[in-house]
């Protein structure tokens, strides 16, 4: 069969796998129709697509979704538990009000996606599927469009002032076979500020999209710790648009998981804004981790920063595709990108594709990518002080990843992530 036919048949099957919701507001139905048309037009992703060259999407599109054993996490405290928070729980991608906190918080409106899409919420209408659609050029992201076309679970969050505590979305994985589509919308109004935390393995297969609009002078902090079920698969898309002097900081920690593709699409439309995107991952064996980032500078004097670090062993594969696009007129852009792989053996692979595309002349953009083994001199120094090879290596791994963790603004949250990571590594050593 021709590639195009394979893509379009797979798209049809995926769309048919989820029922089209009924009883929604007209704007929601229209957004779904548009997204569905896009999915049909572009077809499901396949390895032959340039954008999926380093990551095979077949298990992300196969039906039924591949199963994933549930990791027994009962003997440890989940990350972020110690943080004062408003907690929202999803089980296999379905909102669980019983386990969740009351949705009321000063300066914040929170509503489950399902009910929001039935109402005439003008701001949700202006966001839902809108940022995702903007992110479809120049590269198609059909799995995100599928999410727009079919997702009924998630939350919509509107922040009008300074949120007193972080909103934490906790994903629990319960069923061996669970195929989840989850969609969040976040609107940070002018001068407002919120932190969104996400953690947990979510489902055997997880397709998550978050659209984030940060208006002028708004601040959006995002810290995510992707769940450690060994066999789970996840594809996520964060689509953000930043107004004047807006700030966005997003960090993701990934430990375990068979396949993870995290896409981030960020667009600057107001001057003097800042976006920092960072990721730390560590995996071994049947572990494939892909960070795909696209930052568009379409305003003056904005700063973007990408810091992605991967520790790989035992045949694990790390991928980084990162692009900075500076449009005409986006003068004084400050763009930075670094991606680094630390290989703990010769079997692992780190594939990086950094790209810059610049149409303005007064900009500073730099990117770098490195891939290497643990430094032997450092190892010897640590061992000469009494640490075993494993302990010394672990300390160096933590140090390597810390450059990404240090991108987290809140010291408390950064320490949460550090503590969790150290515990995970120590546990693996045993």
């Amino acid at each position: 069969m021709a590639v195009a036919a394979v893509k379009s048949d797979a798209a049809t099957d995926l769309l048919a796998a989820w029922p089209l919701p009924s009883g929604e507001a007209q704007w929601a139905s229209e957004a779904r129709t548009t997204a569905e048309a896009w999915v049909r037009e572009r077809g499901a992703p396949v390895r032959r697509d340039e954008y999926w060259k380093y990551t095979n999407p077949s298990t992300l599109t196969a039906l039924p979704a591949p199963e994933a054993a549930v990791f027994d996490a009962s003997d440890e405290t989940p990350v972020f538990d110690a943080v004062d928070q408003l907690r929202l729980v999803f089980v296999d991608g379905v909102f669980d009000p019983a386990q969740s906190d009351d949705l009321a918080m000063e300066h914040v409106e929170i509503e489950p996606l399902g009910s929001a899409l039935a109402k005439d919420i003008h701001w949700a209408r202006d966001l839902y599927g809108v940022l995702e659609a903007r992110g479809q050029a120049p590269v198609a992201r059909p799995l995100a469009a599928l999410n727009t076309a079919r997702a009924t679970e998630g939350v919509v969050i509107r922040v009008t002032g300074r949120a007193a505590k972080p909103i934490r979305v906790f994903y629990q994985h319960a069923a061996r076979e669970s195929d989840a589509l989850v969609r969040h919308l976040v609107l940070v109004e002018e001068g407002a500020e919120v932190t969104v935390l996400e953690n947990g393995p979510a489902a055997s297969r997880f397709n998550q999209v978050m659209e984030v609009e940060v208006r002028d002078r708004g601040v959006f902090n995002h810290v995510r710790a992707q769940g450690r079920d060994h066999e789970r698969r996840a594809v996520t898309g964060t689509f953000a648009r930043l107004g004047r002097e807006a700030v966005m900081k997003s960090f993701t920690l990934t430990v375990n998981g068979r396949l993870t593709r995290n896409e981030s699409v960020v667009e600057f439309i107001g001057d003097d804004a800042v976006a920092h995107l960072a990721g730390a991952c560590t995996g071994e064996g049947d572990f494939h981790h892909d960070d795909t980032v696209f930052v568009t500078h379409d305003a003056v004097n904005c700063e973007s920063r990408q810091v992605f670090k991967k520790v790989l062993r035992d045949g694990a594969v790390g991928v980084f595709q990162g692009k900075i696009l500076v449009k005409e007129g986006a003068q004084k852009t400050d763009g930075y990108q670094i991606s680094q792989g630390l290989m703990l053996d010769d079997d692992s692979q780190f594939l990086a594709k950094p790209e810059l595309e610049i149409y303005a002349d007064d900009v500073v953009c730099s990117h770098g990518s490195t891939c290497g083994a643990v430094d032997e001199t450092s190892l010897f120094y640590l061992r000469s002080r009494g640490m075993t090879r494993a302990e010394a290596e672990e300390l160096l791994v933590l140090a390597f990843l810390d450059e990404a963790i240090a991108e987290i603004d809140s010291a408390e949250l950064a320490d949460e992530v550090r503590g969790r990571l150290a515990a995970w590594l120590a546990r693996r050593r045993k």
Binding site: E376, T377, S378, F380, Y381, L382, R383, S384, R385, G386, M387, T388, R389, E391, L395, L396, L398, A399, F400, D402, E403
Partner: protein, 251 residues
């Protein structure tokens, strides 16, 4: 305490013999100094004793107490009480000095079957030791040796030594790059650790360190061998006449 017998070492990767039969015995409570021109093999000797990769022992033996050193992993030698203060301390970005020290101290205690120090105890001990060496809290927080001046790095080595309380301390050119005040601090740090059941092997290029750390025996190393041994006066002779005279008499 330390016994080295006819030690021959070559580079693993190249056919280059560096140590050509070193004999040395350092008893408990003693301080021995090794002096010698650059390239004579002093650092190599210290690395081989500490267990660094890249060297091949072709002949001879080295033991600490009744342990055969050369069979052990570097961390086992450390736990057995060997400490090397590096000529070039290694910078480790991202690892806090304090974390590094606590991990090291506890790793050794664990290896010896002792209880690990809790955070509070550790903090109390390290603060006291750091103060003696004029190491401030800021230096303890910074990543290991990163951005440290030459003197700070050397003082940090001595701090590690003080925390780890080894049986045998090897100091490889700990005085190089130090001004007089820093050298006095380092020497005081070393002298504070002198005890009847601890031995020191002080490698130095200059006699001046030995004014502050009084050695019992001075050895001259040249071309991979110890060519002469004597009392502290041997160091003075080197200081006054250089190595050339000594090497000539030996040859």
């Amino acid at each position: 305490m330390l016994k080295i017998n006819n030690l021959h070492v070559k580079l693993e990767e190249e056919d280059k013999q560096i140590l050509k039969g070193v004999d040395l015995e350092v008893g408990a409570g003693q301080v021995h100094a090794i002096m010698g021109p650059n390239g004579s093999g002093k650092s190599t000797l210290s690395y081989v004793l500490a267990g660094r990769d890249g060297y091949e022992v072709t002949e001879g033996a080295a033991s600490l107490g009744d342990l055969d050193l050369l069979d052990l992993e570097p961390e086992e030698r450390a736990a057995a009480g060997l400490f090397l203060a590096f000529q070039y301390p290694v910078e480790i970005p991202g690892v806090g000095n304090m974390t590094f020290l606590r991990t090291a101290v506890n790793a050794q205690r664990k290896a010896r079957g002792e209880e690990e120090l809790n955070a509070a105890e550790f903090l109390r001990v390290i603060r006291a030791r750091a103060k003696e060496l004029n190491i401030d809290a800021e230096m303890l927080k910074r990543p290991v040796n990163v951005g440290f001046s030459g003197g700070e790095k050397k003082r940090n080595e001595i701090l590690q030594m003080a925390m780890l309380e080894p049986k045998l301390c090897i100091l490889d050119e700990t005085d190089s790059g130090l001004d007089v005040d820093a050298m006095k601090l380092v020497a005081a740090g070393v002298n504070a650790l002198r005890s009847p059941d601890r031995a020191f092997l002080v490698i130095t290029h200059y006699q001046r360190l030995l004014d502050h750390i009084k050695p019992d025996v001075v050895h001259i190393m040249a071309d991979g061998r110890i060519v002469q041994s004597g009392g502290p006066e041997l160091a003075l002779e080197v200081e006054n006449n250089g190595y050339a005279d000594i090497l000539k008499t030996v040859a």
